[in-house]
């Protein structure tokens, strides 16, 4: 069946931006009834290729054939009429509309007197039911759903368009294991109906679980197309990053024990909490230590981090910083006290799209100095040079608007922004989300180096393995409260943390306490 005709065939595609060749004669074939994964590092050209296929970018050279016919895609509307639907990495829905309105947007059921909203919502309900989302009420506002479920709504939205090709650009980066499974069920059923699916993900396990075929890109060039059975993980990774994976493994193998300071903690909070976000929690952070926050989506990881930074105002709790009692109620105050926080929401709370890389880098330092004391251009250039090269930002052009960089490079710029403030405590919320293996390893390694230099790091990731690997100590959260605190080491693994989370709440409070005791000793 794989030898049936491809529904989409892209050949010799080249796209240039000023000064950069983003794609250089890249090819891609999508077959009906197959899940095809596009692999590559950040900046490899995955997003550009997808945007060429969805008509967002015009191609300079090459040809796109859809069902054998050469097509010129002049815009997203062309792509949609050709049966190509896309669900982007960051959900693009209208949160102020209802679920049903979002699903049916542009395909509302029309009656004699305009749109028949009842029929529209009913149709939305049916579409949702087909995807196993029957429990959702189409008349509910989308904003009431967690981000992960919004993603599934976005997929059902593309189903309404009767697509033949469905592009999923990192749909799983914000989903937990259950939701990923739910999504995969949906993908498989679509595949069996003959839809060609183009899937982008950085999670190797997921790629191997769902793909039939994959195409690897590197630096804007085509590296090869493989059937999933013909390539193993090690080969795949080395194709993607173009170098040996021994370097990556060395990070895993290294004994991450750092000298535990016995001195007083850098930061300590007693009973810090906020209604509806996280219950009163005690937390201590030391210099030179990486503390991980583990827990499922919605367990209160991000909420706790935001309270520490003052992004949300804590209702309760006492904070001691460097031995002195203090109050941190705004980000500006936190930065003044050398605490930095990198938000999980890179697009809305991280980068400022229309500012240049340089302006994004110096923003936090400048904000702390106040507007009346501008950072001299020489110092700006020094900061830019330092972090662009230290973090390997590509392209290394500081005057380029940051929105033109790939996600991983944006993340590196943001990391640079926070490091430029010379923080003593650095909070990283999902710093590696949506980032390829190479950039991920670079950032992880950098975090370790920072801790070795005496920085205190609070590390949050939905990938429990990553938390385990990075952290000296792990705080486990569940349902908006701290359920355990584990010393990193031989005994702790992703499995043991999952067990802690799973077993919490099985018994009553005393059993709960017993678990906590068991794991801390």
């Amino acid at each position: 069946m794989s030898e049936s005709l491809p529904i989409v065939e892209m050949a010799g595609i080249s796209i240039s931006f000023p000064g950069v060749k983003a794609l250089d004669e890249v090819g891609l074939r999508l077959f009906p009834g197959e899940v095809h994964t596009l692999m590559g590092e950040n900046g490899a050209g995955k997003s550009t290729l997808i945007k060429a296929l969805t008509g967002v970018y015009k191609i300079d050279e090459g040809e796109i054939r859809i069902a054998g016919e050469p097509r010129r895609l002049g815009g997203t509307a062309d792509a949609q009429s050709a049966g190509i639907s896309t669900v982007y990495q960051e959900v693009n829905l209208c949160t102020n509309l209802t679920i049903g309105e979002n699903v049916m947007l542009g395909h509302e059921v029309r009656g004699a007197a305009g749109i028949n909203w009842r029929a529209t919502h009913r149709a939305a309900g049916q579409t949702l039911k087909k995807l196993g989302l029957g429990h959702l009420n189409p008349k509910q506002a989308l904003s009431t759903l967690p981000l992960a479920v919004q993603q599934l709504v976005a997929i059902s939205r593309s189903m309404v368009a009767q697509c033949k090709v469905l592009i999923l650009d990192e749909p799983t980066s914000s989903l937990d294991a259950n939701e990923v499974e739910q999504l995969f069920t949906v993908i498989r059923s679509l595949r069996d109906q003959g839809v060609a699916i183009l899937f982008v993900s950085h999670f190797l396990d997921q790629v191997y679980a769902i793909s039939d075929r994959l195409t690897v890109l590197r630096n804007g060039r085509f590296e090869g197309e493989y059937r999933i059975s013909d390539i193993d993980r090690a080969q795949l990774i080395s194709k993607m990053i173009g170098k040996d994976i021994a370097a990556l493994k060395s990070l895993d193998a290294k004994d991450s024990r750092r000298v535990r300071p016995d001195a007083e903690p850098l930061y300590s909070a007693k009973g810090i909490g906020r209604k509806g976000a996280i219950d009163a929690t005690d937390i201590e952070l030391h210099r030179g230590e990486v503390v991980g926050l583990a827990g499922l989506l919605g367990s209160g990881r991000t909420e706790l981090a935001r309270l520490i930074y003052g992004a949300d105002r804590p209702d309760t709790g006492e904070v001691t910083l460097n031995g002195e009692q203090t109050e941190i109620t705004t980000p500006a105050k936190a930065l003044a006290r050398r605490i930095a926080f990198s938000s999980e929401n890179r697009r809305d709370e991280g980068i400022i799209r229309d500012l240049s890389v340089r302006e994004n880098l110096v923003l936090a330092v400048q904000a702390r100095r106040g507007w009346a004391r501008p950072l001299p251009r020489r110092e700006q250039d020094a900061i830019v040079e330092k972090y662009v090269s230290a973090l390997g930002v590509r392209p290394a052009d500081p005057e380029r608007p940051i929105r033109l960089l790939s996600g991983g490079n944006q993340q590196k710029v943001l990391l640079g922004r926070w490091l430029a403030t010379e923080p003593e405590l650095l909070i990283l919320d999902e710093p590696t989300r949506g980032i390829d293996v190479g950039a991920k390893a670079e950032i992880q390694e950098y975090v370790s180096v920072l801790a070795d230099e005496g920085l205190s790091v609070l590390f949050i990731s939905s990938e429990i393995e990553e938390v385990v690997r990075q952290s000296d100590r792990i705080i486990v959260l569940k349902d908006h409260r701290k359920i355990a605190e584990l010393e990193g080491g031989q005994g702790v693994s992703a499995d043991s943390i999952v067990t802690v989370i799973a077993e919490d709440g099985l018994g009553d409070a005393s059993a709960d306490a017993a678990v906590r005791e068991e794991v801390t000793t």
């Binding site: 705004t330 229309d354 302006e359 904000a367 009346a372």
Partner: protein, 355 residues
Amino acid sequence: MSANAHGPSEALKGLVRRQYFWGIVAIALLLLVNLVKDPGYLAVSIGQSGNLAGNVIDILRAAAPIILIAVGMCLVVSTGGIDLSVGSVMAVAGAVSMEFLNGASDTVGSGLAAVGLVVIVSAALGAVNGVLVSVVGLQPFISTLVIMLAGRGLAKVITGGQNTTATNETFRWIANGYVLGLPVVFLLALLLALLMGLLVRRSALGLMLEAIGMDAKAARLAGVNRRALLFTVYILGGVLAGFAGVFATASVMTVDVSRTGYQLELDAILAVVIGGTSLAGGKFNITGAVVGAILIATLDKTVVFLGVSSSATPAFKAVVIVVLCLLQSERVRRMFRQRRAAGAARPAEREVVAA
């Protein structure tokens, strides 16, 4: 963004790409139209005391107050806000200064005192806007609308409903005097615009304002103090409007509480848009706002000069501005470019649109 300029042709290209380029073109066209009607229109004569006089000088003089409020508006707009109260603040400034001078002696001291008083009062009005927007968290549109309505009432209360008149040579000189042959008002307006430009670009104020306007959430997390910045910006807008009020009243030494600054907020907003600053906030361009203000003054004078009946004046203004906005629109320009490219057998002159 622009490649390094090589020679004058590149510099010209750089100018053409500026948003306010079409504003300059429009000014030139309007002057040309006037020139056609009266070949002597552009003539500038030198009066007995070496002062320049002529239609162009009149335009510059009329542009002065608009320049000031446009610059203030430009900063407010860059934060994603809007300031509808500038016209009313002008009226209040006029009322305060006239009432003060009416009872004061005709000395340099009292003239300067009147200006000082205006600065204080208009800063206070700006501060009220600032508090409503930044502390209370009202929408800028509503907050400044309140001050727009209240301000005119306040002006009437100050003068007791009268159109107060006063005499003070120093104060009058601000509007009617000359330095180096040019009207003081225009030079002062240009100087203040220049100072504001230096203030925002030499300090980090401009970057901070743009950051707020582009992405308030991200700016907050980066430690940008939005509240203080908004407060500052509305006060600046108020003070600039106060100066504009002084300019508008000093020329006739009378405040017309219901006409001074009337609907000038709209002119200011137009000037800002013509100058290439998006009302959505973000990147702003003070030079552009100044160009826009001069265009509006030129337009006003042209309408009078051509004898367009006063009832048709708004329509005439609207047509010019709509055409201008169309020319500036990225979409319309791309359409033209594509047409040209298609005509030239498609040699794919690929200019990636760097918005």
